[in-house]
Amino acid sequence: MASLQVKSVFRYFGGVAALSDVNFRISPGEIVGLIGPNGAGKTTLFNVITGFIKPSKGQILYEDRVISDLAPYEIASLGIIRTYQKTSIFPALTVAQNIAIGHHRQSRSGIWPALFRTQAHHTERQEIEMRIREILDFLAMDWAKDYFAQNLSYGDQRKLEIAVALSARPRLLLLDEPAAGLNPEETNGLMEVIKKIQKQGITILVVEHHMKLVMQVCERIVVLNYGKKIAEGTPVQIQNHEEVVKVYLGEEIEDET
């Protein structure tokens, strides 16, 4: 059984085909990289998978179930959690609150337990408190618990995004350019984090321009160009793939010769 299956997905914006006939699958526990030049349709594909955009044609399957007609929150509630290319956090709230929000989809208590402060409410608050500590510990961010998200450094905000996503207990985690804007040291830290997340049994699909990260972390890579999949394979296969080299890595090779 595949974790995620993208089945001949098309998406048109007016006359432009942002995605045309994209096919690939991700097995449970894999880390798959999605690369391609700017405008290749990577983020559009993320939006289609997470339900923010409906595919014009084709289907997305998650664990053999069609999800392309579900609302974004329903897709998230299946355990498909995404991050955004542009830093996306809850700025005026504390780090702890940010993570607590990620936990919300697992919440069992609603309005009434909150109003009457039932036992269910109190146990849940304790669970959330524990979860916050666990996640901050995992990302080595314990110090940041009571900081307002907007006051964190850029690098820490990007880490917080991952913390929020993890708090939603993903089974398939979609990372949209997590290394964008990070310095080399932070990028190395991020690669460790991604590997650690995989060890927890979480399947990962990552869009990234940072080639070192993609080549070192991903087990398999899918390449998009002008909305079409032009290649798929292991990092070594992709590095030697003729068409990929031409459209994407071309300049580098030419420089060397």
Partner: protein, 318 residues
């Protein structure tokens, strides 16, 4: 820290209970009572605007509906204040759902304008269905609340002092409900929507549902405030749904401080008391009033609540 909190809490309670005894004139007490009614209204608006980040320009409709529910109930069915206090939020909540259902699919200014259109529709009905609502005259003669236990108590809230304690009780109830809802998993969903609606949806929060719940609860709070208003002023008129109340209640919440509990309370008191004291300035009154609003938006973007926090922080540092 905890002890400090208890002490300051006790001081606030004592001040609130003793306050009307210091002001002996009926007029001053009247200002206190009407501040209280506006505290209810701005807490309700703040619930939607401050915590969930929606801008419901049509919010006065719930205030009006609450007032008319109890007024019409009294006129046609002979119901009293206590039934109104339960019926008004229910009716306002139902209208909240009906108005919210189409308009909550929109965001930002579109949502604001659509709710305002619904509010306008209700205003037109209240003004023109004369045989039922008595039109622009409004419904007057709504009785003061009574507590009657046959043979034991027969008490009517006639005087400002009695009203004051009634209002304080209702305000305390509002604050408790607000506080408990905000500090819960539900509250986190609302804050998430206010801060970043797309991300909220991406982590599995059913944003439409939670916006709806917030809108309906806020509507119910507005409805209850309307009921209290109608029984205090003994009148319900279509003005309640009009532009005057819209601007007043938004000013209270924004200048008081959105997304806090103290802010709307301070805003409501300021905006009820200030216009009264500015009466001496006659025609200059509204100009001075507008100037205060303008300056406070420029110099206190966090509202009065932000100012209080700044002062407190400075106090701590020294």
């Amino acid at each position: 820290m905890k002890r400090e909190r208890w002490v300051s809490g006790a001081i606030i309670v004592i001040v609130v209970l003793v306050l009307p005894l210091i002001f002996e004139s009926a007029y001053a007490r009247h200002i206190l009572v009407s501040s209280g009614i506006f505290i209810l209204l701005s807490l309700g608006l703040n619930f939607i605007m401050g915590y969930t980040g929606l801008t419901p320009f049509g919010y006065p409709v719930f205030f009006g509906l609450g007032a008319y529910t109890t007024a019409l109930g009294f006129t046609y069915l002979g119901t009293d204040f206590w039934i109104g206090l339960i019926a008004a939020p229910i009716v306002a909540g139902i209208f909240g759902f009906l108005i919210g259902y189409p308009s909550l699919r929109l965001r930002g200014p579109y949502f604001a304008i659509v709710t305002m259109a619904f509010s306008e529709i209700v205003a037109l009905i209240l003004n023109n269905w004369v045989s039922f609502t008595r039109g622009s005259m409004g419904i007057s003669g709504i009785p003061h609340p009574k507590i009657v236990i046959p043979g034991l108590i027969d008490f009517t809230f006639n005087h400002e002092l009695e009203w004051y304690y009634l209002i304080v009780t209702v305000c305390a109830f509002y604050l408790l409900v607000n506080w408990r809802l905000i500090h819960s998993c539900a509250g986190e969903a609302w804050l998430a929507i206010r801060e970043n609606e797309d991300l909220a949806e991406a982590v599995g929060i059913h944003t439409f549902k939670w916006k709806m719940i917030s809108f309906v609860i806020g509507a119910m709070m507005g409805g209850m405030a309307g009921c209290v208003y109608a029984h205090y002023y003994t009148i319900a008129s279509p003005d309640l749904v009009g532009f005057y109340y819209l601007t007043t209640m938004f000013a209270m919440v924004i200048i008081g401080g959105r997304g806090t509990l103290l802010g709307p309370v301070l805003g409501a008191i300021l905006f009820t008391a200030a216009p009264e004291y500015l009466r001496a300035a006659k025609t200059m009154r509204l100009i001075i009033f507008g100037l205060i609003m303008l300056l406070s938006i420029i110099f206190m973007p966090q509202g009065l609540n932000g100012l209080v926090n700044d002062i407190r922080a400075r106090f701590r540092r020294t």
